[in-house]
């Protein structure tokens, strides 16, 4: 059960960083005794009452669990579905539908025990078979996270309450994935229904009220009677309103039409604070220049580490944070998140803004006269960041050409090896192993030139299969190596902001764009 312990270690550090109260209890007790969870320990359970109205940024892509998205869509999903496992705000994995889980010695077979008192809205029981089928369907579906189950070979119901997941190789991130959309269980009886995309059949604390909802605009959920975890049901009704416009959201906040909202635009924060609202914030992504062509296939200059370092020195991170994100965020030079054991604050002082040093490095590398660099450009990231990057790299002789492409072609363009470098925001996954899988190793999607560095591969292997101690050490070494080699030019981590009115509390969920639904509750 080492991964659970690892999670706990992660959690302790995160808890210290984010200073959350009352949630960092010993994992074994909590996971095996779910009825004594965080909510009940706060006090007596109150009957659900009133309406909670939340502002969201995106409508539901689909309610079908197998294809569902997460992140900004997580509140919709958590209203109607239960996940096999759950995560506390600090990322600690706790019991969900599964009360107990354990790995075999090879870390490739996960055996889980499910609750026996949960039913779907169609009346069918939530059992191991439903869970197994849901997992396999998700793996073959079109959720953005479908590939997170790529190591799953099979999921089977040993008996009604025992679920077994077999992996082709160890995957330390699997349990985390089971706290998200990959772990949502939908009734197999609904798999073939025609309206599965709009009519979820789950076992969650609320049911979707299609009649009162306006798809794309507002989604209404009614509290479900006899839910297995009634202490998570604070409200009789939850309304989630989609705001595609920051001004409209600001109006709704100032006029009290909603109780909580994920902000689209941090520059409205002063007005919202002025209205007496509370700010719940954290950081989810790192933003910066991906120097994808590290071997110099398209732009030979980038193959020289001194050039990549020069780029890092040439960028004024503080100024860029101010200009592009209005100062909401933290400048950084590493891609690992603060809650990771690999994070090293001292690394952020590696490439302090220094144009002269950058020019020197360029000259040392034989590029005193600079070189041409084409960067894809889309207005989706705002108007300011690209011209500033162009200007600052221009200072050291790099002639940046902004190649304007449709937003629909932006990611494909980067992943399709069309550009040597690109501005991007990438998520900071909960575990180092996931980060490596996502953007570091040769096979990672966000290592589009599939550049293989033996040292990186070796360290990443330790992250996957090593002991927690080994993994921690490997992570630290990997991070320091990437910064030193200037694999990328990270600039800052954006602030993700959730706001609540005076009567509502919420907790920032580490690595998720939206607080988890059960952390949003009445004050007191």
């Amino acid at each position: 059960m080492f991964t659970r312990k690892r999670a706990a270690i992660v959690a302790t550090i995160a808890a210290a960083a984010i200073t959350l109260a009352g949630c960092s209890g010993s994992d074994s007790e909590e996971t095996t005794a779910p009825t004594t969870g965080a909510a009940t320990s706060d006090g007596a359970m109150a009957a659900p009452e009133g309406t909670l109205t939340l502002g969201t940024l995106v409508p539901v892509t689909t309610f079908e669990a197998a294809n569902a998205a997460w992140a900004n869509e997580s509140p919709y999903m958590q209203a109607v579905y239960d996940t096999i496992l759950r995560a506390d705000p600090d990322g600690t994995i706790v019991a969900g539908l599964a009360t107990d889980w354990s790995w075999d010695d090879t870390n490739t077979v996960l055996t889980m025990t499910l609750r026996d008192d949960v039913v779907f809205t169609d009346g069918n029981p939530v059992d191991a078979d439903a869970a197994a089928q849901s997992i396999l369907r998700f793996q073959g579906g079109t959720s953005p996270q479908a590939s997170s189950l790529r190591f799953v070979e099979d999921a089977t119901a040993v008996d009604a309450q025992t679920l077994q997941i077999t992996l082709s190789a160890p995957d330390p991130a699997l349990t985390t994935m089971l706290t998200q959309n990959a772990g949502m269980v939908e009734s197999p009886a609904a798999f073939d229904s025609a309206d599965i995309a709009t009519n979820p059949v789950g076992s969650g604390p609320y049911t979707f009220n299609a009649e009162e909802s306006v798809v794309g605009d507002s989604y209404v959920f009614d509290v479900k009677a006899d839910y297995w975890k009634p202490e998570d049901q604070y409200y009789e009704k939850i309304v989630m309103k989609v705001f595609s416009d920051a001004t409209a959201m600001l109006n709704a906040i100032q006029s009290g039409q909603i109780n909580g909202a994920k902000l689209a635009d941090n520059t409205t924060i002063p007005q919202i604070e002025g209205a007496g609202w509370d700010i719940v914030s954290g950081e989810l992504n790192w933003a910066g220049l991906l120097l994808t062509d590290r071997d110099g296939a398209l732009t030979p200059a980038l193959g020289d580490v001194r050039v990549r370092q020069a780029i890092n020195y040439a960028l004024d991170r503080d100024g860029l944070l101010q200009a592009a994100a209005a100062g909401y965020g933290t400048v950084t030079e590493q891609i690992f998140p603060t809650f990771s054991t690999s994070f090293d604050e001292s690394l952020d002082a590696t490439y302090t803004y220094d144009v002269e040093k950058a020019k020197q490095l360029m000259a040392d590398a034989g590029y005193a006269d600079g070189f041409d660099l084409t960067i894809p450009y889309t207005p989706a990231f705002g108007a300011t960041i690209f011209p500033i990057v162009e200007q600052q790299l221009g200072e050291i002789g790099i002639t940046v050409e902004l190649d304007e492409i449709a937003v629909t072609d932006y990611i494909s363009g980067i992943l399709g090896q069309k550009y040597s470098a690109a501005f991007m925001q990438l998520q900071q996954d909960p575990s180092d192993w996931q980060i490596a899988q996502f953007q570091i190793v040769a096979a990672a999607a966000w290592n589009p030139f599939n550049i293989e560095d033996p040292k990186v591969e070796e360290l990443a292997g330790v992250l996957q299969t090593g002991t927690p101690e080994e993994a921690e050490a490997a992570g630290k070494e990997l991070n320091a190596y990437l910064v030193d080699q200037a694999w990328n030019a990270p600039l800052y981590r954006n602030q993700s902001t959730f706001v609540t009115d005076a009567n509502t509390d919420a907790q920032f969920q580490v690595v998720n764009a939206y607080p988890y639904l059960w952390t949003i509750k009445p004050t007191n």
């Binding site: 635009d265 520059t267 409205t268 007005q271 004024d316 503080d318 100024g319 860029l320 101010q322 200009a323 592009a324 450009y377 207005p379 108007a383 300011t384 690209f386 011209p387 500033i388 162009e390 200007q391 902004l402 304007e404 492409i405 449709a406 629909t408």
Partner: protein, 601 residues
């Protein structure tokens, strides 16, 4: 599709004005001078942006974000620390260039296709009309939004596509103008004399469409600027080059932090568009002024009234025993001219109409007879007025009566039969409602009573199926019938005097006699006085008791019909008589072209 269509195609088929004259006149038009100077400054700013701008427009000073105006940054800095003044200069360059691209493309495509469709017609005409309606079926911005998802945010592509959309405006304009002159005599003549199509188009037709196309260009430029700014504002335009719309969008996003930022791009767009609009307006004014040639000022100076001193030939003084129903003394009618003078059309006319008498007023068109008749009703065309003299009717001087008192006289006491029956009935209302309305107003009749009387009257004036005619619209009856309807209208309110303005001129010869008979019999039956304006001695001979001959705004000869006909003494009267004889024998009855007698100007 084009949101603004201030020029109507009909408006444009006017005489061309030569270019150099137009430029000279524009230089004397203060609005044109001020606006073109403004535009010139803006254009110079755009052209020399590189020299004038103190900073690179895309240069971000991250230490100076959202600063107010200062000596360093004349208009402050934006959210990315860029100099607003420099950006504005370059934005003007790109935005104007984009708008010019759209407008230029629109003009080239639209004028060419309009010329082809208008001049050659055939399948291309119907095809292009269809394409135009296709384009008009969608708001331009929707088309551009859809196009954007394919072509991306490029300013130039977007404006080129918008140019295609705008070309429909030029196409319609040119097409209509060319259609208007295609079959004109001078074009026909050129074609017959073997001039090649290309030179016909360039010499005759292009000159017709040139001025309206130039005016349309200023409008299209405004439309293109507005649309481009809108797209930029929505954030759908290329952000790597500064544009007005992009600056607006950036500033709008920071509206709460820096409410002033929006001012500069907004003002620049506003001033540019305003200057263009005013310039276009001035241009139109000058074009229209040249289209209506200035008339020589024939009028006398202000307030100076000239009475005719030529004596009237009087055959027999009016019967003093019988009371005058209408007595006109020394009537002068004139039109105020822009230069303050008065153009006199009637110069001292004396006429008296007795009760139960038909007084013919005869003369050529332009002699002032219709003006005299309208003076009695005080319904002179716009700008005309009774400058001197009295019009006594039933003890009142109509010349000085207030408008509201005059309204009581019209219809109820003095009524009117016009010349052209079809144009004197409101095409939008039924004949019945047009008969009923005055009776209810003037006589206070109930709706039912008025309707009953209207049917009676229609029957009386000889309309075969009064009920059907009552329900009909004017265009559904013949001219003769319409004239009977108008006569019914004239007698409906039991007026004492009827002003009949050439009541048979516009009618078929066969109908003329019937109408005259009807008038005569009604006059006897109702014993009303009639002032009958005509140019036809036959009509006078037929039904008039008394006749006055008018020439150049004065009465040259007057007397009982019998006496005057037996012995015309005035030279002009004599010449009229000889003309009649020719007419009657050689050409049959003369039918005046519609409308010639209406104005008299």
């Amino acid at each position: 599709m084009s949101e603004v269509t201030p020029i109507q195609p009909e408006e444009v088929a006017k005489e061309p004005s030569t270019g150099s004259h137009l430029v000279r006149r524009l230089l004397h038009n203060p609005v044109a001078v001020v606006t073109s100077a403004t535009l010139l400054i803006i254009i110079l700013g755009a052209v020399f942006a590189s020299y004038l701008a103190p900073y690179d427009p895309n240069n971000s000073d991250l230490q100076a974000i959202l600063q107010g105006p200062s000596s360093e940054h004349y208009l402050g800095t934006d959210g990315a620390g860029r100099d607003v003044f420099s950006r504005l200069l370059f934005a003007t360059r790109y935005s104007l260039a984009g708008a010019l691209l759209a407008m230029g493309l629109a003009a080239i495509i639209g004028v060419t296709s309009g010329l082809i469709a208008g001049y050659f017609g055939k399948w291309f005409e119907s095809f292009s009309t269809w394409v135009v309606s296709l384009v008009m079926a969608l708001p331009g911005i929707i088309v551009l939004l859809a196009a954007r998802s394919v072509i991306g945010p490029s300013l130039w592509y977007t404006m080129a596509i918008f140019g295609l959309l705008l070309s429909t405006g030029f196409h319609r304009l040119t097409h209509a103008a060319v259609m208007g002159v295609r079959n004109e005599l001078y074009v026909d003549a050129a074609r017959v004399s073997g001039v090649r199509n290309r030179s016909i188009i360039s010499r005759h037709i292009l000159s017709v469409v040139r001025a309206p196309v130039i005016i349309q260009m200023t409008i299209m430029l405004i439309v293109a600027i507005a649309l481009q700014a809108g797209l930029g504002f929505l954030g759908l335009m290329d952000n790597s080059i500064p544009t007005w719309g992009g600056m607006l969008g950036d500033a709008f996003a920071k509206l709460y932090q820096d409410p002033q930022g929006i001012l500069w791009p907004a003002l620049t767009i506003g001033i540019t568009a305003m200057a263009l609009a005013l310039f276009g307006n001035a241009l139109r004014d000058e074009v229209e002024r040249s289209a209506t040639p200035k008339k020589a000022a024939t009028g006398t100076k202000a307030a100076e009234i000239v009475l005719s001193d030529v004596p009237t030939v009087i055959h027999q003084p009016a019967d003093a025993d019988r009371e005058d129903l209408l007595r006109i003394d020394g009537l002068v009618v004139g039109y105020d001219q822009p230069d303050g003078s008065l153009k006199q059309v009637v110069s001292g006319v004396d006429i008296s109409v007795k009760k139960g008498e038909i007084h013919g007023l005869i003369g050529e068109s332009g002699s002032g007879k219709t003006q005299t008749a309208f003076s009695v009703l005080r319904l002179l065309p716009h700008g005309g007025r009774i400058a001197a003299g009295t019009v006594h009717f039933d003890g009142q001087n109509l010349a000085t009566l207030s408008e509201s008192e005059m309204r009581k006289v019209r219809g109820a006491r003095i009524s009117y039969i016009p010349q052209e029956p079809m144009s004197n009935l409101d095409p939008s209302f039924t004949i019945g409602s047009q008969l009923v309305e005055p009776m209810r107003k003037a006589m206070g009749m109930s709706k039912a009573a008025a309707k009953a009387r209207a049917l009676e009257l229609l029957d009386r004036v000889g309309i075969p199926d009064p009920k059907r005619t009552f329900k009909s619209y004017p265009h559904q009856v013949s001219g003769g019938m319409a004239q009977r309807v108008l006569i019914a209208g004239a007698i409906s309110c039991e007026a004492d005097l009827i002003i009949a303005d050439e009541p048979t001129t516009a009618l078929d010869v066969t109908v003329q006699a019937d109408i005259l008979d009807l008038l005569r019999s009604l006059q006897r039956e109702l014993n009303v006085g009639i002032l009958l304006v005509t140019h036809n001695f036959g009509v006078v001979a037929d039904i008039c008791d008394w006749v006055s001959v008018m020439q150049d705004g004065r009465i040259v000869e007057t007397g009982p019909v019998g006496a005057l006909f037996a012995n015309p003494r005035d030279e002009y009267t004599k010449s009229l008589f000889s003309a009649i004889l020719d007419e009657e024998h050689a050409r049959g009855a003369y039918v005046a072209p519609a409308g010639t007698a209406a104005g008299g100007k």
